[in-house]
């Protein structure tokens, strides 16, 4: 059980203040430099909306790196007017025979930049302001003040310690008693006192009495056997149930970052879940839809959490995993192109239904509208993907018994639902009543 780190409010406030200060100073700088000033903050949001798909500040992507782009343009002897023209309609600039425009066009695989006629000159000024003086990288996390978490772990530790100490004290007490007894006896013997034997010879010891009582023996044995059988059965039923199975994958893919932090819809990547029996592990080209432009992990502004750090999951670690993806898909970052040298990723399958059980994702996802999380658990919180549900037949059947069929607006169900619900005298039919418990529906 892990507790969420309670972040220090103070450090947060401090961080924000620092950021504001830096931004403000950047603005001052740009005002000094630029001909017409722009708002770097506005520029940042504009940049992210319009440019970030193809441009980064300090890295060549589909298009060139844009940090201090105005300076480099000036080196070419071009001014801001040229930039306005280019951004608003780059193909026409190329068509006009502009030398630098054509050079750029050819250098970047003849991929013309999308025209942005909607951007005003002011917008472009803002963007340029942002590119000229980008806000500093997010403040590295101030060393977390070990408040709550440390305390809690201390507690856990001390509890055990106390218990251990108690046991020790207890044991010592017992030993003491024993020793006292022994010493007293010795003293008594030395004093010539004969310690009388108790009337033990008269009374049969309890174990003997137990052995002699056959009925009791029988009952006890029976109870023992039944209990044993119960536990053996319970154990055997666990064989082959891999609930909690969380294998190490060739690429450390974090559902928490993708589905949780970035809120990517499950079916964006697992698209075949809508139409096919398998949910489909996304092919690498789907990864590259985003990772073409996301080549490094910057994490959340506060930096990796305590937990991540404890497991070595730093930003560099995640970036390294992205590089693994690039290697597999054959993406050359420096040229921003595919080398054609690809190697499929051999993921370890987490959910293994036996071959004799037929399960269809689209039936559940598209027709029944079941949330992915119903069976797969809080995937958006899973750093390492694990099997959340037992995937046993009993589990399937329970759900079929409890879940109502989603019939609204589905013409297929109209007639059968009307007739069946009348027959069973219910308002809403469960999947089981619809025939979802029949053997042949899943086994053929």
């Amino acid at each position: 059980m892990k507790k969420v780190t309670y972040r220090n409010q103070f450090s947060k406030v401090l961080g924000v203040n620092l950021l504001v200060c830096l931004l403000f100073s950047a603005n001052l700088f740009s005002q000094d430099e630029g001909a017409s000033a722009g708002d770097a903050a506005k520029g940042k949001s504009l940049f992210n909306q319009n440019c970030a798909a193809c441009h980064a500040l300090n890295k060549r992507m589909t298009g060139p790196a844009l940090a201090n782009v105005e300076e480099s343009i000036e080196e070419e002897g071009l001014d801001r007017e040229w930039i306005y023209a280019w951004v608003k309609n780059s193909p026409s600039v190329i068509a006009s025979g502009d030398a630098y425009a054509n050079k750029l066009y050819n250098e970047y695989n003849k991929a013309a930049m999308t025209p942005f006629p909607t951007l005003s000159n002011e917008d472009i000024d803002n963007i340029l302001a942002y590119t000229a003086a980008p806000p500093p990288a997010p403040v590295k996390a101030v060393a977390p003040v070990g408040g709550g978490e440390n305390a809690s772990s201390d507690n856990g530790f001390s509890n055990e310690l106390i218990l251990g100490a108690l046991v020790l004290v207890f044991a010592m007490l017992v030993m003491l008693l024993f020793m006292v007894n022994k010493t007293l006896r010795r003293i008594a013997e030395a004093n010539g006192v004969v310690v009388e034997k108790e009337a033990s010879e008269v009374r049969t010891p309890i174990w003997k009495a137990f052995v002699q009582n056959q009925f009791l023996v029988l009952v006890t044995t029976l109870i023992l056997i039944l209990c044993g059988a119960y536990f053996v059965y319970g154990y055997m039923m666990q064989v082959g149930v891999d609930q909690g199975y969380a294998p190490v994958q060739p690429i450390h893919y974090s559902h928490k970052i993708h589905a949780g932090d970035n809120k990517i819809e499950c079916k964006y990547c697992h698209s075949s879940a809508r139409v096919s029996k398998t949910s489909g592990i996304p092919s690498l080209n789907v990864c590259m839809n985003c990772h073409k432009s996301i080549s490094e992990y910057v994490g959340n502004p506060e930096g990796p959490s305590q937990d991540d750090l404890a497991n070595g999951r730093t930003n560099e670690f995640y970036t390294g995993e992205i590089k693994k993806l690039y290697k597999a898909v054959g993406w050359d970052e420096s040229t921003q192109s595919y080398t054609g040298d690809s190697k499929p990723v051999e993921w370890v399958r987490v959910h293994n239904l036996p071959d004799f059980a037929y399960f269809n994702h689209s039936q559940h996802v598209s027709v029944a509208g079941v949330e992915c999380q119903t069976c797969h658990g809080p995937v958006e919180e899973m750093e390492i993907m694990e099997q959340y549900s037992p995937l046993t037949m009993g589990w399937c059947i329970n759900c079929h018994r409890e879940t109502n069929v989603k019939v609204e607006g589905n013409e297929y169900y109209e007639k059968i639902h009307a007739e069946l619900s009348k027959k069973y005298g219910v308002e809403n039919l469960t999947a089981a009543q619809m025939g979802g418990l029949e053997c042949g529906k899943c086994h053929y």
Partner: protein, 1041 residues
């Protein structure tokens, strides 16, 4: 009046003293399991080195080990695409329209692919040209995954690169250009406009000494010649049998492979009685063929007698006379045929499969004379174009050293030529021989270069099946190996960098499509030119023979043909060579599905054999007997034609075989490049002298006994009758249904009540939701067996091999029972004989005399596909101790394999004997070296159906996976399911319309309508099982029952 005929499945059943057949009738196994032999043998037990303690130790250890091993689950890998193709969604099937054109089978088909691999072949129902996939076409997908396929080109057996091969060929071609030496292309019939253009361009490039010889393994020379002489085009007349009211056939197995096959759909349409009418089919033939088995009147005749009969038919139709001796019975039959033809006029059609140009010419003349509406010479069939004269000339040239290079594609002449020795000898004089082949075979072993060629599912191609009817072949998977198709190679050698795909597209754009859309044609898989266009393109007019047009009724131009036919020489024993339904010309012999496919007539799998009539067999001393394990044994024969003899040919005594004739099928006896299990049967091609399928022959008994894997006595119905119900058209039309479709009665409180009214169980309400029923029309079923193979492919039915089939352990979920029938008793015969009155009619002596001799001489035949009947009150369900088999609301009888513990009670209690037990693990087991034990062969497995393990029962699921898929698709789209959407593998494969599947709760569905039909009956209705499969009474268009 229901017929009270006696039905029998094997000739042996007619012998009342055959104890084995008697035992088989009541027991599944003839022998008891020899437990006593083993346990009773004290000495053996005592001397065994393994004593009881050891045994317990082993058991204890292995149990513990197994338990420990089971604790650790295996790690499964899941490997997604790097770049997923847009059209592929894992778990969803894609369908592509393509065309098989392997030189023997030509059909427009749909290929179902999963994750990019073809897994089954379906009918392309949109294509009306040649839209039915037969058993072989259905099985052809497995040849793609044949583990013995050639994986790359070779030179004298050593692997070689394509580049080197191309260089060598180009050099040779260059040096041969203008040298006067022949460059020969020996190929199958392509009927491909693009290949034709390609070869002519090849000719343009390498000079006139390029000689393209087309060779059909099984020749249609006579029919081609006759048609060519009459119409000026080397093709075969097309027939639409759905329009025919009378069909008279002389040795034409048009439900088999006659003229390339594909006539069964039309035939069946006419066979279903509608408004009191159905077509009349009279068949004169020697071997019992599928067509003969379906005929109303079948007259067994030797081929020479058939010729005389045909000549007489022509004479009678044209009111003239011609000589030739015929027996009384045949004359009577001819009279009947003439009578019917004259009545039907243009609605009659005559066909022949006689390998005789005169006979073929006469038939063309008759059909023209009749103006038969079924006869179509304007759009002739182009799928056979072989030329024997050219083949023989090529062999002569080769022997004389006049051939510089030979390229062979699609044929295996060393195996299939009767004079293959000469071919091999000639090949030695050819300095370059390149053989395109998918597998090693007899010809590749003597060729220099073996160019590994692609399977049709990996190739591009086009074909003109009939004049004006085009079809396209498109690859459904990338080449699995380093293979290349013949046409691509030709393009390479011509120095072109065009792909064959582009080449086809050019051809189609320039001369076929005429403005239509290429993409649409490719999507459909076929393209039919409008009639007008065809006629404008190529006018096919009859070549005017003197007086032909106005004197078509006069026999003058055909007089010589007639005379020749009428005086056809009669030899003592005539051999008729034929292609078997499962094997065809033998090019798919390495296909385990086809090997295990039981022949529809003899029900023998894994073999070919010589079929002999009962009386000839008695004369020659041949016997068929059932031995103790229930298997069928037969004598061996030695067959000699013209000094060439084939020894050790197993003999099957075939009811209905014409006396004085024997039959032997092509396609077996292949040795080179075959897995040892597939090297079955004997090669009949050496007997195919002069490419004539009729030979004068001598036959004698040979030593030894052959063990057949014959399923005809397996899975018997334990003596319960009324399996087949049949009646005649007359009774059907005139009498009440209760007379000819008798409903069984049972005794309840000493009263006879309808069996269906009494029941042990309460009925469930099945009126809500879907309720699936399968209708099987015994009139439309021709017994072709396409459904059997389709079921194999869809349901991952394992192949068990010859030995296991012999032990009645075949796994076919769907079997097609074949019943012979004749008069019940000889007393019946005597009464009948006394009452003979006239030739035809109820008491006619026609056919009657034949039957009197012996019931097996000319029986009637009925085919009955039997699969799990999905009884609503299923006997199997009540006896299962673990509830592994249960019933669903939709009418299907479910089978949960993982629950089954293999007690086999269910199989015991099934009255229809449709449950199959997995005696062994058939997959991943090298003991069963067919296709499920290697990675390549496993690619054909349908991922939606469980592959069963050892020790469980299995049976037809009514294609649960298909019905569920249909329902799911409808749910997802939120719509109601239309009739026709529900299909099973067998009903989808059935092109004859015999099997119709659907939801009877949908009152407008076809199957609901069929269930209300008068002809509907259930199998063994008196048992009270209430099946969800129903049949339709067979109606024969005969006068006598």
């Amino acid at each position: 009046m229901a017929s009270n005929k006696k039905y029998w499945k094997s000739e042996a059943e007619l012998n009342p003293n055959d104890s084995i057949v008697e035992t088989l009738r009541h027991n599944e196994f003839v022998q008891d399991i020899p437990v006593d032999d083993f346990l009773g043998d004290k000495e053996n037990l005592a001397s065994s080195s393994t004593n009881r303690r050891d045994f317990l130790k082993y058991v204890g250890f292995s149990t513990a080990a197994a338990t420990l091993a089971a604790c650790e689950g295996p790690v499964t890998k899941s490997i997604p695409y790097v770049v997923q193709p847009e059209s592929i969604i894992p778990g969803v099937a894609n369908y592509y329209a393509t065309t098989i054109a392997n030189g023997y089978d030509f059909a427009s088909v749909l290929v179902r692919t999963r994750e990019g691999r073809p897994i089954s072949i379906l009918n392309n129902t949109d294509s009306k040209t040649n839209g039915s996939a037969n058993a072989r076409v259905n099985a052809s997908v497995l040849n793609l995954y044949d583990s013995t396929r050639l994986q790359g080109p070779t030179l004298n057996g050593e692997a070689v690169a394509w580049g080197d091969l191309d260089a060598a060929v180009k050099m040779k071609l260059g040096s041969l250009k203008g040298s006067g030496k022949e460059i020969a292309l020996l190929t199958q019939t392509y009927a491909s406009p693009s290949t034709k253009r390609l070869i002519s361009e090849f000719k343009d490039m390498y000079g006139s000494n390029v000689n393209h010889v087309i060779y059909d393994t099984i020749s249609q020379e006579a029919a081609l010649n006759a048609f060519e002489k009459r119409y000026g085009i080397r093709a075969l007349a097309d027939y639409d049998l759905s329009k025919a009211e009378v069909i008279v056939s002389f040795g034409a197995d048009f439900l088999g492979d006659w003229q390339g096959g594909g006539f069964d759909a039309g035939y069946s349409k006419g066979r279903i009685p509608q408004h009191g009418k159905m077509s009349k089919h009279i068949q004169f033939e020697s071997n019992m063929s599928l067509s003969g088995a379906n005929a109303d009147n079948r007259i067994p005749l030797k081929p020479s007698e058939q010729k005389v009969a045909l000549a007489n038919l022509y004479a009678k139709l044209s009111n003239s006379s011609v000589g030739g001796e015929l027996s009384e019975g045949v004359k009577a039959a001819l009279d009947l045929a003439v009578d019917k033809i004259k009545k039907a006029g243009s609605k009659a059609v005559v066909v022949t499969g006689l390998d005789d140009e005169n006979a073929q010419a006469i038939v063309l003349a008759i059909n023209e004379m009749l103006g038969s509406v079924s006869y179509n010479s304007n759009e002739p069939i182009l799928t056979r174009q072989g030329d024997i004269k050219a083949v023989n000339a090529l062999i002569d040239s080769m022997k004389a050293g006049r051939v510089g290079a030979i390229f062979i594609d699609g044929v295996n002449p060393v195996y299939s030529l009767p004079n293959s020795d000469e071919f091999v000898e000639g090949l030695k004089n050819v300095s370059l021989s390149v053989n395109f082949s998918t597998n090693e075979n007899e010809t590749t072993s003597v060729s220099q270069y073996v160019a590994a060629s692609s399977h049709y599912l990996e190739s591009w191609g086009d074909v003109e099946i009939k004049k004006g009817h085009f079809a396209l072949t498109q690859p459904t998977i990338k080449e699995l190996f380093d293979t290349r198709q013949f046409q691509s190679s030709l393009l390479k050698w011509m120095g072109s960098d065009k792909s064959y795909y582009d080449f086809i597209k050019e051809t189609w754009a320039s001369s076929i499509l005429g403005g239509s859309d290429w993409d649409q044609a490719l999507h459909d898989g076929f393209y039919v030119k409008s009639k007008l266009e065809t006629i404008v393109d190529d006018v096919i007019a009859p070549i005017v023979v003197e007086g032909d047009s106005e004197a078509s009724l006069s026999p003058v131009p055909l007089a010589s043909s007639l005379r020749a036919l009428a005086s056809a020489s009669n030899s003592e024993m005539e051999l008729v060579l034929y292609p078997k339904t499962g094997m065809g010309d033998g090019q798919m012999a390495n296909n385990p599905w086809l090997q295990e496919f039981p022949d529809p007539i003899t029900r023998v799998s894994w073999d070919n054999y010589v079929t002999v009539s009962k009386s000839d067999a008695e004369k020659l001393g041949f016997v068929n007997e059932n031995v103790a394990n229930g298997g069928l044994d037969g004598s061996y024969a030695k067959i000699t034609v013209d000094g060439v003899s084939v020894d050790k040919v197993p003999v099957i005594i075939q009811p209905g075989q014409a006396v004085g004739s024997i039959g032997l099928s092509f396609g077996y006896g292949k040795k080179v490049g075959m897995k040892s299990e597939m090297q079955t049967g004997v090669n009949a091609y050496p007997l195919y002298q002069n490419f004539s399928n009729v030979q004068s022959v001598s036959i004698e008994k040979s030593e030894g006994n052959h063990e057949f894997a014959c399923v005809q006595l397996h899975k018997t119905l334990m003596g319960r009758g009324d399996i087949i119900k049949e009646t005649t058209l007359e009774i059907f039309n005139t009498k009440d249904a209760k007379d000819w479709n008798v409903q069984p009665v049972v005794s309840l409180d000493h009263q006879e009540v309808a069996a269906t009214s009494v029941d042990l169980w309460d009925s469930f309400d099945r009126s809500i939701g879907h309720h699936f029923n399968l209708s099987i029309d015994l009139n439309a079923c021709t017994g072709c067996g396409a459904c059997v193979i389709a079921c194999h492919a869809e349901n991952n039915v394992p192949v068990v091999g010859k030995d296991e089939v012999r032990k009645s352990r075949d796994m076919h979920w769907l079997r097609i029972d074949r019943y012979y029938s004749s008069e019940d008793t000889f007393e019946g015969d005597n009464i009948k004989k006394d009452e003979f009155d006239g030739l035809t009619g109820d008491k006619g002596s026609l056919g009657g005399f034949g039957e009197l001799e012996h019931p097996a001489s000319n029986p009637q035949v009925a085919f009955q596909p039997v699969m799990c009947q999905h009884c609503n009150h299923a006997p199997c369900e009540t006896v299962c101790p673990v509830a592994a088999t249960s019933h669903g609301r939709q009418g299907q009888n479910h089978m949960a394999y993982n629950r089954c513990v293999g007690t086999r009670y269910c199989a015991n209690n099934c009255p229809y004997k449709v449950r199959r037990f997995n005696w062994f693990l058939y997959n991943n087991n090298d003991e069963f070296d067919y296709h499920m034990n290697n990675d390549l062969g496993k690619m054909v497995i349908n991922p939606d159906v469980t592959v069963r393990s050892r020790g469980v029962m299995e049976k037809c699921s009514m294609c649960m996976q298909m019905t569920q898929k249909t329902i799911l698709d409808a749910k997802r789209d939120g719509r109601v399911i239309k009739d026709g959407e529900f299909q099973t593998a067998c009903s989808a494969a059935c092109s004859s319309g015999a099997m119709i599947f659907g939801d009877i709760n949908d009152k407008h569905s076809k199957v609901a309508e069929l269930k209300e039909s008068d002809r509907m009956y259930h199998l063994l209705e008196h048992v009270g099982t209430k099946p969800n499969v129903f049949y339709h009474v067979k109606v024969r268009n005969t006068e006598e029952v």
